[in-house]
Amino acid sequence: MASFSSVLRRVYLTLYNWTVFVGWFQVLYLALKTLKESGHEHVYDAVERPLLLTQSAAVLEILHGLVGLVRSPITATLPQIGSRLYVAWGILWSFPETRSHILVSSLVISWSITEIIRYSFFGTKEALGSAPSFLMWLRYSTFLLLYPIGISSEVGLIYVGLPYIKESEKYCIRMPNKWNFSFDYFYFAILVLGFYVPGSPHMYTYMLGQRKKALAKSKEE
């Protein structure tokens, strides 16, 4: 029974990782194609559907961590996936004015390269039991450059969106109401920006630690 469940787990995770890999590959292909043919203003329109779909599929990663399918701690996955979903849905999808910005291109490209490497690494690892060393190196080295680009793009796009958020009053709840509750999306966006201050170094140092551990382990083998 235990072996059957572990086989089932491996099959599921292999399928999950490769499906999401295909999604991100499509995002990268469409982004680069559009960037070359029509310029950065049209990148978002070209990648919107696969981007939102594959980025939303990452919610399952949080569930995988919660139910113990994978070992990655929720403290590492939740802020990363949460911030990405916020930028994808809460900024780009919600405020069309931000979509034509140059930062969308850098965001989409850095996200997709990171995820193509990551999902192919985990997909190979689940399918074959181990991943080739070059993939291991890419998985734990490309973030050194791609994380700062991605995070800067995320922060930049939230900042670009602030005037539109304030002006539109979208997602705002005002008092008076029965439950005596108010919510201002503009201040929420500022709060999210504030979380990037401690969050980014935390994520980066966490990944550096993971890199050190993983590459040391691969050297031993």
């Binding site: 029965k178 005596n180 509750f181 108010s182």
Partner: protein, 310 residues
């Protein structure tokens, strides 16, 4: 006897070790370390027995009341202890005083002072009776907590790390401001009179019950804060392990029934989840301790914290 004090990295904290009487206790050793280092007062020290390298066991923590002889191997006169600096410490009374002082002072600011004009509300503010009662209720609660800290509670641990002061104050003070902002808001919508009376009535009953629970817990401990673990009994403790937390949670529920704000319910949920973790740990500890073996009493079947749910 000779005691060698080393840090966790293996470096000798006090060169040449310490010479102590054969009858010396751990407390005497801590005092001796304090005399030699000045910086590390006893409550800042954690002393453990040294473990074999690579050992996965938890180190034995030296209890300040015990004799050092009890920790020596065989009839050896030498002892090596591992020292850990716990960082700056404050008394629990200081910690609780400052964390409760915040909400006690912050909440009335929102009620009495014209703070909302700085948030862009220019008109005249109509104060509803429920807002007045909520202020009295809130202030009574935190005043009660401060009084209990000084005159009721007996602490098993004398001190807490200084960092906890900042963490706990951030929690209480932020939530104090968050709840106060909405309950005293100029656009606040009050509940019906009956709901308000039920909420505050139930809440007040729970506050009095909470005070009585604290009296019962106080009587389980000796005046010096020791006395080990005992099975709490009497009043609500006959049905709930942590009746003090139960009454605490339900009195905030009463407050929220009367005031009906999302902020208040958020505070309730966060506080309840924190207390539930503590209660589960205490329940497990009491059940493990009072297992009914070797003449020990068996811990009775009880709710943990939230009857009829948990």
């Amino acid at each position: 006897m000779k005691v060698v004090v080393v840090t966790r990295s293996g470096r000798e904290l006090i060169k040449g070790g310490l010479e102590l009487d054969d009858s010396a206790t751990v407390a005497d050793l801590q005092e001796a370390i304090h005399r030699r280092t000045r910086k590390y007062y006893p409550s800042r020290q954690r002393l453990t027995l040294s473990l074999q390298p690579g050992s996965k066991e938890k180190p034995t923590v030296l209890h300040y009341r015990k004799s050092l002889k009890e920790y020596c191997c065989g009839n050896s006169d030498n002892l090596t202890v591992v020292f850990k600096d716990l960082g700056p410490q404050v008394s629990y009374r200081t910690l609780f005083f400052f964390e409760y002082l915040g909400p006690l002072l912050i909440y009335p600011i929102f009620y009495y002072l014209p703070v909302y004009q700085y948030f862009g509300y220019k008109g005249e503010r109509v104060v509803h009776p429920v807002q007045t009662y909520a202020t009295y209720y809130w202030c009574f609660h935190y005043f009660k907590r401060i009084m209990e800290t000084f005159f009721v509670h007996r602490f098993s641990h004398a001190t807490s790390p200084l960092s906890n002061v900042f963490r706990n104050c951030a929690y209480y003070w932020t939530f104090g401001a968050y709840v106060a902002y909405y309950v005293n808001h100029p656009f606040y919508t009050p509940v019906c009179d009956l709901q308000m009376k039920i909420g505050f009535g139930f809440g007040l009953l729970c506050q009095i019950s909470n005070f009585y629970c604290h009296i019962l817990l106080r009587n389980l401990r000796r005046p010096d804060g020791n006395g080990g673990y005992q099975i709490p009994c009497g009043f609500l403790f006959n049905i709930v392990t942590c009746a003090n937390y139960t009454t605490e949670i339900y009195q905030w529920l009463g407050f929220n029934i009367a005031t009906q704000t999302v902020a208040g319910y958020v505070f309730l949920v966060v506080a309840a989840s924190i207390m539930t973790n503590w209660a589960l740990a205490k329940h497990r500890r009491l059940r493990r301790l009072f297992d009914g073996k070797d003449g020990r009493p068996k811990y009775p079947r009880r709710w943990v914290i939230l009857p009829p749910f948990l």
